[in-house]
């Protein structure tokens, strides 16, 4: 039954895709986020669903889509360079087989992020992509939200519908992503054209945002709490009634904190006393190891280079800590627990540099669009600044969450990056920046100088 449901849904998408090929692109987005083949028991798990949708998406674009005015943007070039560099480090990796296993999914995420902006040719397509991303993620978030409400969740024990802790189904990753998409959910509710804002949309939006906020509670991922704090500050930027908003946040906190599970509040206290917490102290030890490693290997060790680390961690007692007094712990093959150190250790200074340029350029471009369209009076442009703000806010939340989670190549985030590039390219195409009119007008009969330049005089 489960399997037939997924097969029926995917077939429906394929049929619609033959009418409008952009649906193939959305089909790939859905498959990549939800992984129906991994939720399936016998029908889909042997079929390369992801590959089929990728071929259909690229084929549909090549055959039927309008490609006029299509340009390769700066960030797509950076993505291509990052892809090439990752390929090179994989060929020279410290652990060739382990590196190949990660390369197998990283290259797909990067290639799709390079391709996706070409297909985002209309406002509706950008909206459709964001809706598909949010609704696909909601299949995991709603499960987590309801289970947290019912049972309170627990670190590593919240089952999100799939047990293998990969992709978005991992606790810390879904905690960061769930908070990062809140600004986009709010944008879609306010400015979406596919579902006009009525009571049903308001109710679903409120319920989904609430479920997103519950994910870090249910997974007890400390990163999620930090992301919620960042999101609360970012959402205030364009708020008209800031005092009312702050009062609302304060009231929500006062109501929510006593209702939080005891295990959650205990774990959140360890954010302050990290010296006494083995998990947090190990991270710092891994980061120190990575820094020392790249001094001798400036080009990085390829994917999964962390497998070679051997760590000795000294723990000191702190109030609320999980370790006894002056304990020493040993660990090995500890993951980076930070996207920044993941990039540095695996791809070296060059890889980290490319990755940083990609993300910083995204933030800067969204800021430029925000400022350009913030005070627009044209009704057809009113959605642009809020979308740039929402994408930028999600991006900042991701970059903060990525300080503590190794999500440098998380495909969902690359789709968000591709949506930013798509919005930027779309606006360059349909709303190019008009050159300012000269302040001093030239008369047609103005005299020319020796170089043939007309001398303009203020009249």
């Amino acid at each position: 039954m489960h399997d037939l449901f997924f097969v029926g849904f995917l077939l429906g998408l394929v049929i619609l895709g033959f009418r409008r090929p952009f649906l193939f692109v959305l089909g790939y987005v859905y498959v990549d986020i939800v992984s129906p083949q991994r939720l399936s028991y016998y029908l889909l798990n042997a079929v390369p669903v992801s590959l089929i949708f990728f071929v259909l998406a690229v084929g549909g674009w090549l055959v039927k889509d309008d490609k006029s005015g299509t340009r390769l943007s700066f960030r797509q070039v950076v993505l291509i360079l990052l892809l090439a560099w990752c390929g090179y480090t994989t060929l020279h990796a410290d652990f060739p087989y382990a590196a190949l296993a990660k390369w197998a999914w990283v290259w797909k995420a990067l290639v799709f992020a390079i391709f996706l902006p070409f297909t985002l040719r209309t406002r509706l397509r950008i909206e459709g992509l964001l809706l598909f991303m949010v609704l696909s993620a909601s299949s995991i978030i709603v499960v987590g939200g309801i289970k947290t409400m019912v049972s309170g969740g627990g670190y590593g024990s919240l089952n999100l519908g799939l047990d293998d802790n990969s992709g978005l189904y991992e606790g810390s990753i879904i905690s960061t992503v769930a908070i990062a998409i809140i600004p986009t959910i709010l944008f879609l509710a306010r400015h979406g054209t596919l579902y006009p804002l009525d009571w049903k949309v308001k109710l679903y939006t409120a319920a989904l945002v609430f479920a997103c906020l519950l994910i870090p509670v249910g997974t007890e991922a400390r990163t999620g709490l930090i992301c919620i704090g960042v999101a609360a500050v970012l959402l205030m930027r364009d708020m008209k009634r800031r005092l009312l908003y702050m009062a609302g946040v304060g009231l929500a906190l006062a109501v929510a904190v006593p209702l939080l599970p005891q295990s959650y509040t205990t774990r959140m206290h360890t954010i302050q006393g990290y010296q006494g917490d083995q998990s947090a102290s190990t991270r710092i030890a891994v980061w120190q190891w990575t820094w020392a490693y790249v001094q001798d290997h400036p080009f990085g060790g390829g994917f999964n280079a962390y497998l070679q680390n051997r760590l000795t961690i000294k723990l000191t007692e702190t109030p609320g800590g999980t370790a006894p007094v002056n304990d020493v712990a040993h660990d090995q093959a500890r993951a980076y627990h930070s996207a920044y150190f993941e990039m540095l250790g695996e791809q070296g200074f060059l890889g980290l540099g490319l990755w940083a340029v990609l993300h910083l350029a995204g933030l800067v471009r969204m800021e430029m669009l925000r400022r350009r369209f913030r005070r627009t009076t044209a009704p057809e442009e009113e959605w642009i600044a809020p979308l740039a703000t929402a994408l930028q806010s999600g991006h900042i939340i991701y970059l903060v969450g990525a300080l503590f989670v190794g999500i440098a190549f998380q495909p969902f985030i690359y789709m968000l990056v591709a949506a930013e590039i798509g919005l930027d390219s779309y606006l360059r195409r349909v709303r190019p920046v008009r050159a300012h009119a000269p302040m001093i007008a030239c008369r047609p009969d103005a005299r020319q100088d020796m170089l043939g330049i007309r001398r303009c005089v203020a009249e």
């Binding site: 849904f9 429906g12 409008r20 649906l23 959305l26 509706l124 696909s136 909601s138 057809e380």
Partner: protein
């Protein structure tokens, strides 16, 4: 039970979204926006 409810809800909304997208003419071409000309194509073509 909870897993199935969430899957059903999200997939119903995804299906509705796909259906609404397919029916919109502005999915492939923005309404009222002049598209740039393809290379070599005349303005009045």
């Amino acid at each position: 039970m909870i897993d199935n409810f969430a899957l059903l809800l999200s997939h119903a909304l995804l299906a509705l979204t796909a259906w609404r997208l397919v029916r919109r003419p502005d999915l492939d071409r923005d309404a009222g926006v002049e598209q740039p000309r393809a290379w070599g194509r005349r303005r009045d073509a």
